[in-house]
């Protein structure tokens, strides 16, 4: 009746996950009860859960990422503590638990923190920067988000029901095959990635179409803000790479469920094929994450330096070059598998070539700062911190792209330090910069600068204290994923790293404090102008938060830095004469529960598949299909905001804005 599921699935013998799971459960129930008792449920349902507004969905993506960052972060703390104390002892985590933790840490941080964070920011900002009212497929956008949330949910369910994968974040066979991993861990891993992968693909298709087909009048390709370019590149990579992940995981699942022989030791299966396929997705994935971060930094550096981006065309070229070359380097992940010297050398050099456009980007940001008037608001701090940190990560990255050096450093703590160097220093710093930068746009008030700066400095120093020792441990021959070790030389570095982790955690706490303090002081921090940073692109041309239709009129763009030019123009004319605009009715997509209902059935189906509860699989499948048919059957998917309403909403914003421009004009 319940497949493989029975009481032994609950880890009564392991207090840590049980208590953690119970605490999360209590927290969720508490929040739910509060929501229901306070009567917020209808609000949540109508304004958020069923919303197809790209801004709301973007915010929910970022929220999901932030919550999962705490989960992945606690995994990280547990790992650092374990390695600090597991010298000549078993530490406090048995291998089967430790192995789940590092697998979960990697999986969560990449798929459920970094991905939703950047996709959330792209969702929030790109339509605004393009001067349009929504993404290309608003309902699908909601489906994509909720499928991602489903994946995250399943990963967390594994904490208390059954186990998570113990095979690392990429689940290499044959270890992840049925013979060597008979438990449900790998199934949790694979199904949650399959489900969230579909969500990501949907988001990718959506954003590619949005950037290519939905731009306001005059927004030629070479007038798009840099963030739109990197969004385009990143989502092209999603569209081209995520199907590879889907196919690869499907093959792994076929091996596990139906006795196929893609990657088994027996009957001619080929494990090296898995390596190739997973990295053919995995390497572009790195750039899927970091390209949007590059875009964020471009916006931030240019805005806070009070200059247009230096070498815009170079930047576009570099972005697209990275997009293409990122598909030609995957083999550098397994130089040590014994491919010939020619193959190794070619892929090594290809990997280095990617460093060229990346280096160009760094120099262009550098020259954007040159001659600027730099305001060190929190986003700019993250940007400068990123530039310094990322160069170090780039250096070590190019180093491991040299095959003979990789023969010593492959899979070592040095490598662990390297990719944290680029992912924390690049993606996470970028995500935080974007968060600080666009938060006022999303919510209408700025974040507290004092706590923001504290968060930056703790995170920044904490990062160095944590990961520089790992470089050294790698140079001392330490490999990754060790649950315990007997080498005395590694121990002090593991200690230092654990201390760094504590500092890093203080940074995260500051970030949470910043949010709490800012929400409390939101009236004082209110952004009435819609342009708190003296911005340059179109998202700052509307109010904060923007009305549901973003722009009362599609803006007409005449050049780069569209909004900056507008402001200059307005200042020159000193407000001149402004006729009352003629507002028109606006059609907007209607809310739809499709995404949420789909995710509901996907959760049921995923859980049932993991535990081999076949009747439930069929039920979930039928439910999902029915949802689609019902969705397809709808007659009205849009509603009209009457011109009078548009005028009312826009009028308020217009007044604020005029006072801003007249103030600026009088200076």
């Amino acid at each position: 009746m319940l497949g493989k599921l029975d009481w032994s699935a609950i880890p009564f013998d392991q207090p840590i996950p049980l208590v953690a799971g119970a605490m999360v459960l209590v927290a969720i129930l508490g929040v739910l009860t509060w929501v229901v008792v306070k009567g917020h449920l209808p609000y949540l349902w109508h304004e958020w859960i069923t919303s197809v507004d790209h801004k709301r969905i973007g915010v929910m993506y970022v929220l999901l990422a932030s919550v999962m960052l705490l989960r992945g972060g606690s995994d990280a703390i547990m790992m650092r503590v374990q390695q600090a104390i597991a010298y000549q002892s078993q530490g406090y985590l048995p291998p089967e638990h430790y192995n789940q933790i590092f697998s979960a840490h990697g999986t969560i941080m990449i798929f459920f923190v970094a991905m939703p964070f950047v996709i959330g920011l792209m969702n929030l900002v790109v339509p605004l920067q393009l001067g349009v009212r929504d993404v290309a497929f608003p309902t699908l956008n909601s489906v994509g988000f909720w499928l991602t949330a489903t994946g995250a949910l399943l990963v967390n369910v594994s904490l208390v029901v059954g186990e998570f994968s113990r095979t690392g974040w990429l689940a290499f066979p044959p270890l992840s095959g049925l013979t060597y991993s008979p438990g449900v861990g790998v199934d949790y891993y694979a199904w949650s990635l399959q489900i969230s992968g579909i969500g990501t693909l949907v988001a990718g298709i959506n954003l590619v179409t949005t950037v290519l087909k939905l731009r306001t009048r005059g927004m030629n390709y070479l007038r798009m803000p840099m963030f739109c370019w990197t969004t385009l590149a990143s989502n092209l990579l999603i569209v081209a790479a995520f199907p590879i992940l889907t196919a690869t995981l499907a093959m792994l699942l076929l091996d596990r469920y139906l006795g196929f022989h893609f990657f088994t030791n027996e009957a001619g299966g080929n494990v090296m094929m898995f390596m190739n396929l997973i990295w053919a997705w995995g390497h572009p994935e790195v750039y899927i994450l970091v390209l949007p971060a590059f875009g964020i930094f471009s916006e931030v550096v240019s805005t806070f330096s009070g200059k247009a981006l230096f070498g815009y065309r170079s930047m576009v070229l570099a972005t697209m070059a990275i997009c293409v070359i990122s598909f030609m380097v995957w083999l550098h992940h397994f130089f040590t598998m014994g491919a010939g010297p020619d193959v190794n050398a070619i892929f090594g050099i290809a990997s280095m070539i990617i460093a060229v456009p990346t280096g160009v980007k760094i120099y262009n940001w550098l020259f954007t700062m040159y001659g600027g008037r730099i305001r060190f608001a929190t986003p700019m701090l993250w940007a400068v911190g990123f530039m310094v940190t990322f160069i170090i990560g780039g250096l070590t990255g190019v180093l491991v792209a040299v095959p003979p050096a990789d023969f010593l450093l492959h899979n070592s703590m040095f490598l662990v330090a390297h990719f944290h160097n680029v992912i924390i220093g690049g993606v996470l710093f970028g995500a935080f910069a974007g968060f600080e930068y666009w938060f006022p746009k999303a919510f209408g008030f700025r974040l507290d600068e004092r706590w923001g700066k504290l968060a930056f400095w703790f995170t920044f120093t904490g990062f160095y204290i944590t990961f520089m020792p790992l470089y050294i441990a790698g140079m001392l021959g330490m490999t990754r994923r060790l649950q315990h070790y007997d080498v005395a030389a590694w121990r002090p570095w593991m200690f230092v790293a654990a201390i760094g982790m504590a500092v890093l955690s203080i940074g995260v706490i500051c970030q949470v404090m910043q949010l709490v303090v800012s929400i409390r002081n939101r009236e004082a921090l209110r952004d009435r102008t819609g342009d708190p940073w003296d911005g340059r692109s179109l998202e700052w041309a509307t109010s904060s938060p923007p009305p549901v239709f973003n722009f009362a009129f599609h803006p007409d763009v005449r050049g780069e830095d569209a909004y900056w030019d507008l402001k200059t123009h307005a200042k020159q004319q000193l407000l001149g004469h402004h006729p009352e605009p003629e507002y028109q009715d606006i059609e907007m997509p209607k809310n739809s529960p499709t995404g949420f209902v789909c995710a509901f059935f996907a959760t049921i189906m995923g859980f049932a598949l993991i535990w081999h509860i076949w009747w439930m699989v069929i039920l979930g499948g039928l439910g999902a299909f029915a949802t689609f048919v019902v969705f397809a059957w709808r007659d009205h998917d849009e509603y009209v905001i009457p011109a009078a309403e548009v005028a009312r909403i826009d009028g308020v914003n217009l007044e604020e804005r005029r006072s801003l421009v007249s103030m600026a004009g009088s200076i």
Partner: protein, 277 residues
Amino acid sequence: MNLLDPQGPVAVANSQILVDSVFIMLVIVVPTIIAILAFAFWFRASNRRAHYQPDFVYSGRVEMVVWAIPALTVILLGGVAWIGSHQLDPAAPVPGTGSPVRIQAVSLDWKWLFIYPDQRIATVNTLTVPAGAELNFQLTSSSVMNVFFIPQLGSMIYTMNGMVTRLNLRADNEGKLQGLSAHFSGDGFPDMMFDVNVISPLAFPDWVATTAKTDSVLNEDSYKKLMEQGIERGRPTYRLEDPRLFDLIATQHIPPGPGPQIASGAGRPRSGGLDAR
């Protein structure tokens, strides 16, 4: 296990390339970092002496330089990578004194088996080699993937079931080194560290003779017992019954290792073999 304290020619060359590459890159990385910090500091909004140039957004000359710097660095490093990959191919011969020693390494769940086919002996978790001689490794795995790595001797290489990888090394100085598996392979993975005893070429025949006197025999049956999941705390040695054992493993005539024997609920199997033997 310090990578910068190499004990053989391969490791020397590897770490030389590593250090060279770092220095080549530091030449541009350090000035860049300094420039970032300096520009950020000098052009701060509060600095009245800094000259605000909002129109400095394009300069062909600067563009050329910023493309050229990383490109030149990569050309230089690419050369290093190309030459290094060919000279340090794991399968390339590493000439040494005396006759080469053939060693067949098998990664088991969770121990290393070293077969000396010519000496007709085998050891577990201890690799004993003569200093100065070329070491020809053939490697495979009884079950999942592992990576064979002796940090101070250089170049690591994967072991995979049903496949043979090749690696040639040389240890120059007598002494004790340590090796490990550098690819996660399951619950007993951290216990896959092994000792490497580099002894004098004169003592090597004696060691072989002593080892050959052991009562334990390595054949298909004892190998099958050995490949069950578990950790090996001792350092057992064997007389090798059939010098073709490695081929039987590598060609899958002996089927791959059995994996965990399910000890508890189907959802959360525990590997039974983690107790030391």
